[in-house]
């Protein structure tokens, strides 16, 4: 693999982008074949942050394994936990109390906003604008504070347990979430003024990294990447879980298929998340925050699957149980892996700058890809 790096038989320059590179946001390794500045081939090499999470889960109990998954897609850790908890609940046939469902969904949407805000800053940084990063972190910090007050952690929350959430919400929770919504509405126009409306930004994004609906479906892309090409695939709409069927929100779909469409999707999704939170925050029902469960969970023999919509797309959790206290086999269908696989089709024929820009709109989290 490494001998071929240099120039290939046709005399094209081959370049190693990563595993240590500012634009790969982690340890992604891209071997790029270049003709001048034009990209002929992109070959992602994975595995630099493979921690065998799936294997680890097999030796952890059904209560424990949920928390390992926070480290997969650490930007939507809460949603990962949610998928796992849901899968266990499905197997145990636990009825989650209404209060817990509301809290879960509100936290999910807060996580989604936090994730998209970080993506916005990081993608702008890929395009060479440093300032947006700090502006997005200003709002994201408020969400992190809410998370910290609720469950004690800011990034990998571990707030989910099978049957509900670990603790009840803090008395300040509703007030602070409403404050955040006000702050968000006050500040979001700055995002558009700084980046969305910028001529240089639009030139970098429009018509770049175009994906057709056909390509997106054949590569199994989900989330904003698929919706940017006009494919409706929002798990929250198609297979509603928790209280998503009770709230009103739109599945944001753009038909452009280019980087700008994917950008707009995420910006509008943040608005939709705010809309969901607004509908739920005043109506959190009283009651238990956690269903009564046995101390030791034993899933019946069989196969269980659940999926949720993370900030990056569809996360599937597949558990095979032999009836013991630990799963026999766990498989995660992570959105990042499928989204990355389309990178070559996306970047071929473009310039290096286009590769970086369109890779930014894929919103890759490398630990989610390698697991």
């Amino acid at each position: 693999m490494f001998e071929e790096i240099g120039t290939n038989a046709e005399g094209d320059m081959m370049i190693n982008m990563g595993p240590q590179h500012p634009a790969t946001h982690g340890v992604l390794h891209l071997v790029i074949t270049l003709n001048g500045e034009t990209i002929k081939k992109v070959d992602p090499h994975l595995g630099y942050i493979h921690r065998s999470i799936e294997k680890m889960c097999e030796s952890l109990t059904y209560r424990q394994f949920i928390y390992v998954t926070s480290r997969m897609d650490y930007l939507s850790a809460h949603i990962n936990n949610h998928a796992c908890a849901m899968c266990v609940e499905k197997g145990m046939q636990i009825e989650v109390p209404g209060r817990a469902q509301y809290i879960r969904v509100i936290m999910d949407e807060l996580t989604r906003i936090a994730s998209h805000e970080l993506w916005w800053g990081a993608m702008s940084m890929d395009l060479g604008a440093f300032t947006p990063f700090f502006h997005s972190f200003r709002e994201r910090e408020t969400i992190n504070d809410i998370m910290e007050e609720t469950c004690g952690a800011r990034l990998t929350m571990n707030y989910m347990v099978p049957g509900g959430v670990m603790n009840d919400i803090h008395p300040n929770f509703q007030r602070r979430v409403k404050e955040f919504i006000q702050l968000y509405k006050r500040k979001i126009h700055e995002y558009d003024e700084l980046i969305t409306g910028n001529v240089i930004f639009q030139n970098r994004m429009k018509g770049v990294g175009v994906l057709t609906a056909e390509q997106v479906i054949s590569y199994g892309c989900t989330g904003p990447v698929a919706r940017g090409s006009g494919v409706s695939c929002d798990v929250r709409k198609w297979w509603p879980y928790e209280v998503y069927d009770k709230v009103e929100f739109n599945e944001v779909i753009e038909t452009g298929g280019d980087s700008f469409a994917r950008y707009l999707i995420r910006m509008k999704e943040m608005d939709q998340s705010i809309r969901i939170i607004e509908q739920l925050i005043d109506n959190i029902p009283d009651g238990d925050f956690q269903a009564k469960t046995k101390a030791v969970l034993k899933l019946p023999k069989g196969e269980f699957y659940s999926k949720v919509e993370t900030a990056r797309g569809e996360l599937g959790v597949y558990i095979v149980s032999e009836g013991g206290t630990t799963p026999y086999r766990i498989k995660f269908r992570s959105p990042g892996f499928s989204n990355l696989s389309i990178l070559h089709d996306m970047a071929k024929g473009g310039k290096i700058g286009d590769l970086i820009a369109s890779m930014g709109t894929l919103d890759l989290v490398i630990p989610d890809i390698d697991r």
Binding site: S124, A129, F134, H135, F201, N203, R204, G353
Partner: protein, 358 residues
Amino acid sequence: MWSFSKIADFIHEFLGSYLNSTWTMIAEMVIAGVAVIGLFALLGLVLVIMERKVSAWIQIRLGPNRVGPKGMLQSLADTLKLLVKEAMTPGGADKFLFNLAPYIAMIVAMLLMAPIAFAKDFQLWDLNIGVLYITAVSSISVISILMAGWASNNKYSLLGAMRSGAQIVSYELSAGLAILTIIIFTGDLQVSEIIKSQADGWWIFKGHVPAIVAFIIFIIAVTAETNRAPFDLAEAESELTAGFHTEYSGMKFALFFLAEYVNVFIVCAIGATLFLGGWMPLHIGHWTGFNHVMDYIPSSMWFFGKTFFLIFVIMWFRWTFPRLRIDQLLNLEWKYLLPLSMLNILLATAIAILGWHF
């Protein structure tokens, strides 16, 4: 009033009373050389801390605030660190060219300081083709970048150098044509004459539309020429890690870094000289009282004030805009800026012939 020219005269008389004229000249050259090197280092320190503070201000953070009062000595500490760091040369590099490149970058920046008038009657070398000299010398800087990129034996560096070559050579045209607009009005290439012609008003006010258009084109073109964002394709951190100076470390890196900042200072000084009257105070027509008050502000203050204002504008660009792509960068130059500059020159010529400018 305290001024640089009085100090210069004092030194000249002081040396003249002890040495004959030849030795006086040699001694003065040595003093001037040391002053330029000192200014080079000082500007680097000041501009780095300024950039960090400006970026912090734009990015809602504090910036350096530990070393010295309000972090003002931070860049001094950084310089110390860079001085004691090992300057590595990569294995496959062309050692001679690799080590030569940063010095060429530095020498170009220093040479460009010669014709700049820092204050009234305070100029190292007022040669009669001053502006031509500036444009000629500044185009050497691309060689140092190409040399660094080629000699590093690193593909990122090579790509950075390749981009930089295309970029600097193209944008020099626009910068040159923008400068030419003012030359058409003044009819003189000598820096001191250009400044003198602005005694009753700066060219940006006197030159009607062509001067304003030329000023805008000049600012865009020099931002590109000095490889500053949004035209920092030669470095392009997120694409090419650090572009042409990826392999440089320690003081050799620092020289590139300093040269970049000094180049920014120089192009802004040229912009201030050509369009904003150099050290000339702001005079408005027949407002004698106002003009008199303006004359009380020392000429060096005027020069540095204007220059640092332009530097601030260029820093503002950097922390606001995303980076362009290489083909968009060249499109901007060849499809928009260059035709516009040429049209602008025609307009300026017409105005100059008809004598419409003030």
